[in-house]
Amino acid sequence: MADQISDFSQYRALVVDDFAAMRSMLAEMLRSYGARNIDMAANGKEACGHLSVRQYDIVLCDFNLGAGKNGQQILEEAKVRNWIGPMCAWIMITAEQTPDSVHGAVEYQPDGYLIKPVNAALLFQRLGRILARKSAFAEINTKLKRNDYRGAIAMCDVKIEQEKSNASELLRWKSQMLMSIGEIEQARELFEKVLNERDVAWARVGLAEVRQREGDFEGSCKLLRQVIADLPAHVKAYDLLAQGLEKLGLLEEARATLENAARLSPNSPVRQKNMGELALRCGDVETAEAAFRKSMAVGENSVLKTPDSYIGLARIMGNRQQTEEASRLLNKLPQTFEDTAVHIRAKAVEGMIYQKNGQDKEAERVAADLSGMMKNAAMHADSAASLEAAELFFSTGRKDDAVALLSDVVRNNPEDQALMGKVSQAYSNAGLTEEGQIWMKQARDDATAQMNEGVLLARDGKLPEAVASMRRAVAAMPSNVRVLLNCGHVMLLSLQKRNDPALKREALEVLLTANSLLPGDKRCTRLLNQLEAMD
């Protein structure tokens, strides 16, 4: 018999169901198998309250919870907000066999489904099996938690040899990790090896993803069309195919493909938003509007809701000269999204809508607001927000604000070619093509100079000065990966001379930031390992 866990006394469990009788029945079942720490929740709000403060090993969650969040949305929120780790066993209890949620993205799937009425023996069999499998993956998870992707992949290889029954699952994990750290070649070898033995859907789709990353969109679409012909309910294949078709410029076909995906799985705010954007590009404003509205509606209780659907809809209203409605919608964004970059985008788009409708006074007022907002250190603009804000600043005569913002984007991302293209486009749109090139070069040189200062100081053995200089560089360019890595490197040199726990923590934080921006980068992994090896 396969490994199984039958004693649940050391596990903490959460039971989520809107019916009190069902809750106590499930809790009673857990108790009869030894569980002692059991919390209960009647709705999404209560469940999130528990999940945000306690680590659970087991969650039994009813899918349909009446008004508010459904079970799938609670699971998504718990995963996105890191309330539960990969070791938590989540069982979704459903009334039907195949709810739409079954088609959710892989990373948001529960570990198992149980169909009502819940049979105690079956519940514990499934639960025991899931927990046993998770403990087999525990060592890999420990490495993943420390963002040590390469260590986790090496551990996968060890486990694949040891545990035949989990080999397929482990290979799939390994392929996902390889893709996320950009080891495309290795991922391709893995997919091809798996496919040599069996026509496995995830490997076929994985191979199509590899082709897209390599720029072979024709080849990718061909593979995906075959997958869909064999498995017409494989939602991820549709999503990926739509992306590929879009790259090939086949917009109508891309749109039809996304519509099929949305028919299979209508509750994804992001897919609905993508549909809206595609419809707009096809010139179908009506469909776009419907899709953006649908995205907002299904996103209402979802952590996966996206500001892009609000912004897309506001732009449509702006084009119809409904400026008041547009700005009312945009003013909802700060309450709906915590991310301050979204607040910046909302203002920028509002200003541009006024400007395009000839309401210059209003546009200037909004631009002044935005300029004040962005001087507040608590507001973090990402590059999308910076580009949108710069557009408004240019068109309302705030050239200095715009150039400062764009220079910041350049300093933080000098190696991102696509983004640099957008920055020079922004300058061209403002009629500043040549000046823009000069400013961009200045920003790049500026970044290099700041970074080199610290490295040169370190080379001359002036380590305290080098660390101080790198700190300033990181403060000025918090998302420039090269700056972060050099900073970590200089701090490591200093630590090798003289141990300093506070500096060690600081170095770790810097390197983890770099790792989250560019997961699994070889140099970053090496520096992290060196840092951890120090005592």
Partner: protein, 228 residues
């Protein structure tokens, strides 16, 4: 005024089948609970209850098959083959069929090589084997064997019993479209479902299939599904 669009009858069929299935699931859950705490000696209606459970499960299986076929037809069924340990698969079958078989005095045995793992859609194949077991429970004398082994690169799951076996016209080949026998109460749905599910499983140019035979190790009917 626009005339109201006439609702599509098949949608109603599907949604009501769905609704009925939920009620039947509840009903068989309750019957199982009752059968588990009683025995033939302490409750005179025990045998009748056992028959009720069999009939309930039969309808439930039929509805599940109808619903799944409907979803497959409308390209809505999420076909998810994955690696399944046959040991785990047998445990699920054991749990799901224990009440029925104990109440009918039938002994259920499993036979498979240790660590046998195959690639298939667990839910669909559970549906197939549950149907076969339920069916066998009506025709066997007192024994059912579920066996799994790899034959010529295909996984073969067999449900064998020690009853009279299948009538001659149903045996073969696996190509006859429907094994319909109204005298025996067979509409052919279960077999059609099995053939559809088997054919859905494809690998390297080979598809799954269904075989019905007589004999086997228990001398009765043998229901075989082969999966590539």
């Amino acid at each position: 005024m626009q005339p109201t669009a006439k609702p599509d009858l098949t949608t109603f069929l599907a949604s009501s089948a769905h609704d009925m299935k939920n009620s039947l699931g509840m009903l068989s859950g309750l019957l199982e609970k009752f059968l588990d705490v009683h025995s033939e000696s302490d409750f005179s209606g025990y045998k009748d209850l056992a028959s009720m459970l069999y009939e309930t499960r039969r309808i439930n299986n039929d509805l599940m098959h109808l619903l799944t076929l409907y979803k497959l037809d409308h390209k809505l069924y999420p076909f998810h083959p994955g690696c399944v340990s046959l040991a785990d698969f047998f445990e699920d079958l054991q749990v799901q069929n224990a009440s029925l078989l104990i109440s009918r005095g039938i002994e259920l045995a499993f036979r498979a090589e240790d660590d046998l793992i195959w690639y298939f859609d667990e839910d669909l194949i559970l549906g197939v084997i549950n149907h076969a077991v339920n069916n066998a429970s009506n025709y066997t004398q007192n024994r059912i064997l579920i066996a799994a082994e790899v034959v010529d690169g295909m996984l073969e799951i067999r449900v064998e019993d020690n009853g009279q076996g299948y009538p001659a016209f149903m045996l073969d080949n696996g190509h006859s479209p429907l094994g319909v026998d109204f005298n025996r109460g067979s509409t052919g749905l279960g077999l059609h479902f099995t053939r559809t599910v088997a054919a859905l499983h494809k690998n390297k140019g080979r598809s799954g299939r269904l075989l019905l035979q007589n004999g086997g190790s228990l001398g009765g009917g043998v229901f075989i599904i082969q999966l590539p």
